[in-house]
Point group: C2
Chain length 382, copies 2
């Protein structure tokens, strides 16, 4: 009955289909803040490192150098505090780092990631604090008569405390789905850590899929492995904005939440910022807190869609009904910067109050994670 321990090592060999395992660790974070990357590829002619901290020009890759064992290496000094994506280019072929099991999908590509030290990066890590719950569920939708998938974060204590909580509805951009904020956006970690520090009220965060052409993220749809497109047919169609209240109704019927305007917030990044401003204006009694993160302020001027045609009227009504916070975040390098200027001018002409937060950088998850921290700290101040 005593099992030979050797047999246990075979389990891995038998089910894990082996592979050229080496003892390489990569990336390696050093005490001084520098980070080293390694790849064992003795037969390669060139290996380059590409990271999202670099400028996006083709010249800005880092050429790695090879040692006698065939290990290619590069070290990067003094990265800021953040979560970073990277990959290698081996003789012209883009590959992931086989030594780094930590990966995140962004639209149709999978990247390796690592997290540096300090703030805000410490907010992106699982810390020794009470943890919330992450829920993947399907809700009935009027859109194509299908059910649709969403992610819901429940705050620490939700299962034990039997309280009602406020809700932040948090929308992704054009290159995203219901997995984007939980993975690239680090929502569970950020909210857990902000709650633990007493910097935010415990709240639900509801992350639906903003592409009404799809019912779920790649790999989770009953339609199978549909081509993963960046710009799906729903973009600019108004369907997401016009049907959004079904998401609110589902959440309020399914979870213990507070069901009044002052306990509802709505925010989104890029396309999700556009969704947020149209939804909030069309439903002026529903949301007291609106957050526009690097928002795409308008996609098309598509006639015949009330939610777009009546936007001017809706904004005036929203102004009249009032709100607690209209928050706009934008990076100085964002390609949407000028549309942000134009939109703020429009709000100024209307006399609509807003809080404007201008940051460095561009249209990046680095900014959106920080905007989530800034924005959520301002919510639900009863």
């Amino acid at each position: 009955m005593v099992l030979n321990l050797f047999a246990f090592f075979l389990i891995q060999a038998q089910e894990n289909i082996g592979g050229t395992t080496t003892q390489i660790r990569s990336p390696v974070k050093h005490e001084d803040g520098s980070v080293s990357f390694h790849l064992h590829a003795p037969n390669a002619q060139t290996v380059q490192l590409v990271g999202n901290w670099m400028a996006s020009s083709p010249d800005s890759v880092i050429v790695m150098s090879q040692d006698a064992r065939g290990v290619w290496s590069a070290t990067v000094d003094s990265l800021p505090s953040d979560l970073f994506l990277y990959y290698f280019v081996l003789d012209g072929l883009r590959i992931n780092d086989p030594s780094n099991v930590y990966q995140i999908r962004d639209v149709s590509q999978v990247f390796n990631y690592f997290i540096t030290e300090g703030e805000p990066a410490d907010f992106f890590k699982t810390q020794d604090v009470p943890h919330g719950t992450l829920v993947k569920l399907w809700y009935p939708s009027q859109i194509e008569g299908e059910s649709r998938r969403m992610t819901v974060y429940l705050p620490p204590g939700y299962h034990e405390q039997h309280a009602d909580y406020p809700v932040l509805y948090l929308l992704h951009g054009m290159g995203g789905d219901e997995e984007a904020w939980p993975t690239l956006g680090r929502v569970s970690q950020i909210m857990d850590n902000l709650v633990a520090k007493g910097q935010i009220a415990p709240m639900l965060v509801v992350m639906p899929n903003g592409h009404t052409s799809n019912q779920a993220a790649p790999g989770y749809s009953a339609r199978g492995e549909y081509p993963i497109e960046f710009r799906t047919p729903d973009v600019g169609s108004g369907v997401m904005e016009s049907t959004f209240m079904e998401v609110v109704d589902f959440i309020e019927n399914s979870f213990r939440v507070k069901k009044d305007k002052k306990h509802r917030a709505l925010a989104g990044l890029s396309m999700g910022g556009s969704h947020s401003l149209f939804i909030a204006a069309a439903n002026p009694d529903v949301f007291d807190y609106i957050g526009l993160f690097s928002a795409a302020f308008r996609l098309t001027d598509q006639a015949g869609l009330n939610i777009y045609d009546e936007f001017g009227k809706n904004l005036e009504r929203q102004k009249k009904q009032g709100y607690q916070l209209y928050w706009i975040g934008m990076g100085t390098d964002d390609f949407l910067y000028q549309t942000g200027v134009d939109y703020r001018n429009r709000l100024d002409r209307l006399g609509m109050e807003y809080m404007y937060h201008e940051s460095e950088g561009g249209h990046t998850w680095s900014n959106w994670r920080k905007y989530l921290i800034e924005f959520s700290r301002l919510l639900f101040k009863d």
Copy 2:
């Protein structure tokens, strides 16, 4: 206010850090059931395909061939109906297929996957049926005074129907964690599809982390990026088995479940099968259904651990108290096959009834997914 559509394509360029994108699709499933794999690597000298449908000898890789554009290809005929893992070996370096965004982590390695047609593969796909909910939560534990992470599947209708449900506790093997059954094991898809066909009762499936040395899967622990080990110090320590009732108590206090023996099942694969048989015998009033999938029947004869020392006594007590089903599944090629024979002989000598299911194949997820289907069809027949 009208946004230049061109700008939207920049979003991807700006946030997604580019990469050498090609128009290659891989894998491609053909009408006749064959599957083609492609990799654009003009500078490579050799590219091989390695899949978990091949024998695990170094000779059984498939050598891919290169065309004039530098695209390497291979086609595999007549795969059975299943979920398959694969990778490429490029000039000796193991890499994932950059054209396939569908990936699953198995212990410390990430594999591409694809699913073929027919049964049982159709059970592993998201179909157009009512879907259950997948919950990632943390529960308080006596183990090191930490909270621990688990995955819970709630059946379709759980949020709407206010019924109480039976529970299947489902344990992973040595190379696993609370992410193993939901990803490699396709628990959500299998249970959704079995419920839709009326082949099983709607039930909760509770998937804790069986490595008591870790509090969560890689990437989710407050201890940071600990080395991902196959054999952690907890293996054979008896801690998982001795403390398991805290998992049952947490579930019964947190979800709407039936709280009697005839509505509780416990099953596990490999190390999780070992956990299951010790836990079930030590708690003969708790579980009416026990499933041992390719079980490792004993890890060590470690003295001083009551849960091991008293196993013989416990088994006799379990026999006396009775149970509905003691199900044993084993593949004829499993390296644990003989320990299975020995264990069944022991049960025979005791006069303990069991149902034995022998399949082809070895110690593989291919078998464990099928065992889950077989076993769950036998549960909770009131």
